[in-house]
Each structure stands twice: as C-alpha cells, then as structure tokens.
Subunit: 385 residues, 2 copies
C-alpha cells in the first residue's frame, strides 16, 4: 500500500485518469471548449471538493459554465430530458458529470439524446442505437458504479416504473480521484462497494464472460474483501479509498465486457418500485439467495471470483449453499444486515417489483438456469422481507 | 478451462480481438482498404496458417496485396527502411504485420516512419516523437511479445550494435489467435512465455508501476506457471495456448503502462551483440541473478507478482535470495537450463554487450538500486557463462 500513484490509460472509448492527481492531469482534454454544462446532484459534488476542483479548471481555461444540480438517485427519463433542454438552451459544447452512477448515467443519456436529437426512452428500449454523443467528462464520486469506464446507463421510466439499462456512450474522459471518496457516509461506502462486488460476481457468471473478465472480477473482489471493513471504520483513510475505487473501476471494465446477471436484473425492479432502496443495498439483500442459483449452474465461473471471499470453496455445484453463506457472512462482517422490510416492502410491493423487473430479469437469464416462474421469484423474495 | 471464448476490447490505441475466431471477427476493420503490404518472416506466417487466413480476408474484400517476408528476429533499422521503401513503391494504404515481436515492431516503426517521412533511427533515439502512422493490423504469432497491445518497438542499429526501444505506435487492430500458436516449436514456446514472464516481473518492479500493473502481472504469472509446462509437453493443445497467449497479452498491457526494467535493458545488449540469442532465453539466463537485486530494493512490488511462483515468499528484502531461487527453479521446471556460453559468449563478448547496453541499462536504473559499475555487471554475467 501507500503507493497512491496517479495513472492513466485508455479503455473502450474512455481516457481514464486514476489517483489523487487525476483531476489536474485530465485538464488538457478540456482545452478549446467554450461552454460546459455541469450535471450533478444536490450535495456530494460540493462536499467532496470535486465541484471546486472542476470550477478551478474551468476558470483556468476560461470556459463558461452552467450548473444543473437536480439529479437524484434512481434518476428518471424526465431528468434526462431536462438536461437535454439545458444543453440546448445553454448552447453547451461539453458536459461534465460530477457524481455517482445516477449522475453519470443521466449525463451519458443526455449527451447522446442531445447529439442525436432523439428521446432518452428510445435508447432505454433499445429502439435507437447510440452512435455519437456530446463531449462528456465524468468525475466519479463513488466507488461502486463502474459507469466511468463502461458504456452503460440506467434510468427509470416513471409511468411504468421500469428501471432499464442500455449501451449508450463511454465518457470521453473519466476522473477517478480517491480524495472525493473521503466524504462518503458509512452507508454509501458500504452500498457502493457492495454494488462493485456484485458487478464482479455477476459479470463473471454471465455467459458472455471470459477469462479476462473473471480475472478482473477476482482482483476487484480481493480488494473489496481486504479494504471495505477498514473504509467503513476509517472513512477518511485515502489509501483504503484508493483501493476500493480501484476495485470498482476494475469491476466496471468487467461489466463493460460481460454485463451483469439476474441479481442486477431483479434489483432494478425492486428499486424501481421503492426508489428509496439504494441499489447496492438491494443487491446485497437478494444476492446471497440468488448467488446459490448461479453457483449451482456455473460453479467454475462463480468460484473463480468467490474463492477470493472464501478460499475453501470448490468449483463444484455441490458448494452452492456454501457460496451463498460465504457471501452472506462477508456482508455481515462489514455490518450489512438489512432486509426488504426495512425499506417498506411487503408482499404486494414484492409482486409489483417482480412484475416490473421481469423483462430485464428474463433477459439476463441464460441456458442452464432452472426455469422459474414469477411466483418462484416472489417466494424467494418473501423470505427476505 | 475449455471456455475458449473470442472476445474484443479497446486498450490504448488498439482494438484487440482475442480467441479462436479473432481473425474472422477483425475483418470489418479492413473494409475500404485497397492496397495492403503484408510484412512477415520466412516461415511462421505460412506454417501457422495465419497467412492463408489473412489472404482469404483480403480476397473477400478485394484488397491488393504484396508480401515482404524478410524480417528476421532481432531486426535492424535497415530492414525497417526496406519496408518503408516497399510501402512507398507499392502505394500501400495499410500494413498487415504477421509475426512475433520482431515483425510487429518492424511494422510499427515502418508505419510511423512512412507516415511522417522520417528515419526509423530518429524514433529509436527519441529524436522524433511519433504522432501518426499508416493503418496497421498486427496478427500476433507468439505468446511472448505483448507488442500487439503496446506502443513500443525495438530494433537494432547495425553499425553500433545498439538494440534500442522506443514508443512509436499502437497497432490499430490486433489479432491474438491461439490457433496460430500451435506450430511454435518447443523452444519458441518456452522462450516466448519466459519473455512474457519477465514483462510481468519487470513492469511490476518498475517505479512507474501501479496497483493495476501489479495485478495484471500477477494474473499473467499465474497463467504462465499453470500452463507453460503442459504447452511444452503438449504443443498442439489449444486450451493451453489460449491461456499462454492471454498471459502474454495481459503482460503486454502491463509493460505498456509501466515499461520494463534492468533485465530487459541488459538483455537487449546481449542479443544485440549475439543476434542468435533469443530474447526470452537471454532474459531467463540473467533473470534469476538480477531479480535478487530488484527484490532487495523493491520487495513488496516484486513479491506481489512473484508470490504467484512461490507462495511462501514474503514481501521482505531478506527474501531476495529465495526469490532468485524461486525463479530459477520455475525455469528449470519447464526445462530451461541454458547459459551464456551456449550462445558462444565469452568474457570479451560480455564486456562488449555491457558496453552496448549501458545506456539502456542505465536508463532503467531507478533510485534505490545499488550503484553498479560496468565491471560489477560484467562480474555477475561472468558467473552465467
């Protein structure tokens, strides 16, 4: 540890700057821009110091800016449409997203819808295929999303409560600066890292995975196992934040290559119906039950990652119960013990969530998984109330 | 194992296709080209089947081609200049390199020198800074080079015997197809994988390394440890080749991020003076002695990778002898036991090699390494005769 080097590489369409000097080093990419719309949420951009850093860069480069700060978590297409309007009225030549997954995903969708003159919903329903976008810089404020190095964006269609994901745009430049993680609350620290953990597990188990995805996922899981507890105990420790941010970024590359799986598919339904449910919390509530299913049908792939949590696991379907237990125990060890009822879920809301998430859940099913009806899924979730 | 998936991703300036269907899947990138110069060596492009596959693609796309097949290992600037002349006289709009490091590196230098109208030597001496190059496809035929995913090229300046490396160009498209590895001889199999192993070790220990470099290097080292012996025993096993090729590619990303170290610096001198010395063999002859030095000054970083060879190592400078021994034992376990005298080295040639490699060796020294005179290095090498 203690080697908090700032480094840079190009992955996909993104030039990523990672480390404590990332913001300063990324500056050159904005040279020549005239008008930037800053997209963010209410507080974290300010609290983390990221907004000040970005404003300083914009001042130095004499770039006009306007701030749109209305993105909340689990954002809707209406928010995205508002951002598109702002881009139009401000005459922006660039967009700087400062936030976690919700902010960056909203900005990705807006940058694309703006450049192509289409509705965000068309991308979410895979009617339109994104081929260009407004120049987009992502300043990532959580160690969970991975969206700073992937093509994906997730947003909710309000009238149907569908939370949908689509491939839309890599940020042109992304900034992963561990300084900005120091102000994450205890629960944000936990939920975002658990999100990254499920990115690792699910990308590895997805039939689209490959040896590289599974190695990256294992590396990310090792770092989360090693550092999450201390980050919760010592939130202002930058070395720990550096490692968790690194884990999240690496897991982001893994999902970019292979996608997620049924746990994400189902969770998007749950937090679509109860928007107060943080994505990472939703995943961790249902994860240990559903990892058993995945382990029983793809034991080798799941084991390749989960052995980083429990080295005594074997790559055999017989170990599926043990795998669920290992995951549950790890979550408990970092203090996670929430249940669906903590977020006001009841039988009816579960049914609603399963209904809403079914298309997404179903699209992430794969050959070999046991046939499950909605009723089967409801009965698993009922145990998690 | 047995999951020989073909996958694709963008790293640096390269779109890489990896896997048994890589060649076919990369085809689209050549659409629109009219005249390709194929750069290759005498035999491996034919023996491996890669040349036939490429010619088939060119036929399908009605692309005119000319074949230049005079690249040998440890190529010279004269060879690169000849390729530039061929590009000019043929009026090429693209260059397809089919071969190992020597072929791809020659093509990188030629593609750049051609596009910028400068001499290859200017890049090798870092006088010219490369900023554009002719469209370059690399079809990689060894699991050692890493050059298919990095910016670097190495060539020898004949009159001074200097073997120099420079940052010049990422291939635009690279193809890593394990099918083409099945015809590598036993010694090629060994030497190229040992090259990849030293890419892992040296990039990790380079002060420019970072957590990602060290994780990638560890992953590559694990795969080499796990699969090299079986590849030598069962050369036609595609699963083993897939894994070794993957290790080499991952180590290539690691060197692209962090560069190599003194072992590569010194080896380029040895094979500059005795061109019959295969690069991987040269590394493996001197590696165990010099890894001790590196371990003693950067124990944590070296350990992060070397623990994949010997889990009993500790990240302590005290373990430097043990680290050298672990490396030597691993090399012996795959049948490597060559010495400098096997390649006709004597005291005088060692001195000549140290003289020639000194600038490169010296440039890869870093703070903390004990001061060593040329005489000190000669006396280490003398023990390896």
């Amino acid at each position: 540890m203690a080697d908090l080097k700032t480094f840079r590489f190009v992955y996909g369409g993104t030039t990523l700057y990672f480390g404590p000097e990332a913001t300063e080093k990324a500056k050159d990419h904005l040279v020549g821009k005239k008008r930037s719309l800053i997209v963010t949420g209410k507080r974290s951009a300010k609290d983390s110091g990221a907004l000040d850093d970005v404003l300083k860069v914009l001042d130095e480069l004499s770039i006009e800016r306007k701030i749109y700060d209305k993105v909340r978590f689990n954002p809707t297409v209406e928010i995205v449409e508002e951002i598109v309007e702002e881009l139009n009225s401000f005459g922006a030549d660039s967009i700087i997203a400062i936030g976690g997954g919700s902010v960056i995903d909203s900005a990705k969708l807006a940058a694309t819808a703006f450049a192509e003159g289409r509705k965000p919903e068309e991308y979410l329903r895979w009617i339109a295929r994104a081929s260009k976008h407004l120049f987009l810089v992502a300043v990532n404020l959580t160690h969970g999303t991975g969206t700073e190095v992937d093509r994906y964006a997730v947003a909710t269609i309000t009238r149907t409560k569908e939370k949908l994901g689509t491939a839309v745009a890599y940020p042109d430049v992304s900034i992963d600066n561990p300084k900005y993680m120091l102000t994450l609350s205890k629960s944000q620290t936990m939920f975002t890292s658990l999100d990254a953990l499920y990115h690792s597990l699910e990308s590895a188990v997805n039939p689209a995975s490959n040896v590289m995805v599974r190695d990256l996922s294992r590396v990310a899981t090792e770092k989360i196992r090693e550092h999450l507890k201390s980050a919760i105990e010592r939130p202002r420790d930058i070395e720990t934040r550096y490692m968790l941010l690194y884990a999240s970024m690496v897991a982001g590359i893994a999902i970019d290559m292979a996608g997620t799986s049924i746990i994400h598919g189902l969770e998007h339904g749950l937090s679509g119906v109860v928007p107060e449910l943080e994505h990472g919390a939703g995943l961790a509530i249902i994860g240990p039950e559903f990892i058993k299913l995945l382990y029983s049908v793809r034991p080798t792939e799941t084991w390749e990652v989960m052995r980083a949590l429990d080295p005594s696991l074997r790559p055999s379907p017989d170990d599926y119960e043990k795998a669920g237990e290992a995951l549950r125990r790890f979550q408990e060890s970092v203090g996670f013990n929430l249940r669906l009822s903590d977020y006001g879920f009841n039988e009816q809301k579960i049914r609603e969530a399963v209904e809403v998430s079914w298309p997404l859940y179903d699209s992430r099913r794969f050959p070999g998984l046991p046939e499950m009806s909605k009723e089967d899924v409801v009965s698993i979730l009922r145990k998690l109330l």
